[in-house]
Amino acid sequence: MIIPQHVGPIDMVAVIPYIAIICVLAFVLLLVPGLVWIERVVVALIQDRLGPNRVGPRGLLQSIADGVKLFFKEDILPANVDKMVYYLAPVLVIVPALAAGAAIPFSIVKIRLDSGVVEPIPMVVGNVNIGILFILALTSLQVYGIVLAGWASNNKYSLIGGLRSSAQVISYELAMSLAILCGVFICHSLNLVDIVNHQGGYWFGIIPKWNVFQFYGLGAVATIIYLIAMTAETNRAPFDLPEAESELVAGFHTEYSSMKFAIFFMGEYASMLVVSGIATALWFGGWQPLFPFLAFIPGWIWFIGKLMTFIMIYIWVRATLPRLRYDALMSLGWKKLLPMALVVLFLVALVDTLQTPSQPVGSHVAQGHLAASMVIGESQR
């Protein structure tokens, strides 16, 4: 479908970022109740339970009922808390998650410019040329919300949850950044739109040139590292030690009630959506169709379909795997994932150099250095 540049008085090229803002916010905020319902139904299915079935047909209205309940609940402030930090923490959980969505391109529209040229314009809020770094910066800020919530609650379980979370997030961020760098090496760009465009096309007309299939299997290894690290980053099972209900009551959000609790909940799902969005754009071709003969399906449907696949994997893993012990979590992060990610990054760089001898290797190694400096920062623990 080709849209003309001027529809009435509106310049479509100028309007697209605003449409993208509305789409991202509406998608994330409106989808969360749906995701909660999907999660409960699927987990119930896997565990052979009934799941929500009281409110509305097949329990569809359950999340809305929960939301209304949370909205009208009493807002409790525990004794002797640091009020500023206590109120700031939920905000710090949800704002970075929503802001990181700004750099993820989710579709492409063809626009016929006034000059008659048809130009593909990506649907993205901000097409920044350091897109990946922008997202990494924002996801690294998310740990503040959890740590401060744990500290400000004035509760030993919350504090332990917050400490666990900070250690876990900074440990897995390294493996995640290194895995992301592999994708950057493959595409020679930090711009997510360029990265997705790079993944267009097919080998033998059937195998999509997504990053996950690139570089003789190295892309797949990096993808797996990224997927494990992203589960840990978002504090989801089997890495949900910060909120392990059997040992820490509910971890960092034990003392939060009413809408503040709901915001923590929404922040968790929003960050799940964001890291799944990165996985989609970085490894699985973003809006690019799986097979060439399926290209008639619009790009945003492909994007949302891939995104929802990752959400289903999240739910499936949560229902299947038991929670890790804390030392097992740390040894997985530092002794297995991090060395593996370093080796994969090295091999990807090697293959890249051999494939394109004239290409200067350096321009992206700067971030390898950056990741190394982060290793230092956190090795202190």
Partner: protein, 180 residues
């Protein structure tokens, strides 16, 4: 009215907002007795600095500023504050005496010195109001090509930094581990 709006220099206004916020957060950081709050104000200051870097079109440095300082270093600070459990305000009593007034006098002398140096040696900077612009100044591409350009002096220090970081890793583990 319209003329007045045209005179308004938006980048200057943005600079003043960011400058005031960063100075205020720095003052609040040292005025606060609670280390956790101090750390939070410092994070706010780092954010403002990242924005200032962006206003000077140094995008890569701005992103790295947030990733390294706000995302890694300050989280580590918070982690240690919570680990040692010194987060409550009464944990450490500040000693009174002449220290604070003396420090402020010294600071004023230092600022005057800076201003004097700026007035004497800064004429070169002051008359050039509009800075020179090079293409792709702050992009990753330009920075990477500069670092790894053998004809420029940055390659060796860059590699030496990696050795320094390795020493940092070993030193930190040696310090933090009770028994090796």
């Amino acid at each position: 009215m319209g003329r007045g709006l045209a005179i308004l220099n938006w980048s200057l206004i943005g600079f003043w907002i960011m400058a005031i916020i960063s100075v205020c957060s720095a003052v609040l950081m040292i005025a606060n007795r609670n280390p956790v709050r101090s750390a939070l104000f410092l994070v706010l200051g780092f954010m403002m600095q990242a924005l200032l870097y962006l206003s000077m079109s140094a995008q890569f440095i701005a992103a790295v500023q947030i990733i390294v300082y706000a995302g890694a270093i300050m989280v580590l600070f918070l982690f240690v504050i919570m680990l040692l459990n010194i987060g409550s305000p009464e944990a450490l009593r500040e000693r009174g005496g002449l220290q604070a007034p003396a420090a402020i006098v010294l600071a004023i002398v230092f600022l005057l010195l800076l201003a004097g140096v700026g007035a004497l040696g800064g004429s070169q900077i002051n008359h050039l109001m509009n800075p020179s612009v090079i293409p792709n100044y702050g992009t990753v591409d330009a920075i990477g090509k500069t670092i790894f350009d053998p004809s420029k002096p940055w390659l060796f220090p860059f590699e030496a930094t990696s050795i320094l970081l390795l020493i940092g890793v070993v030193g930190a583990i040696t310090l933090a581990k009770r028994r090796l």
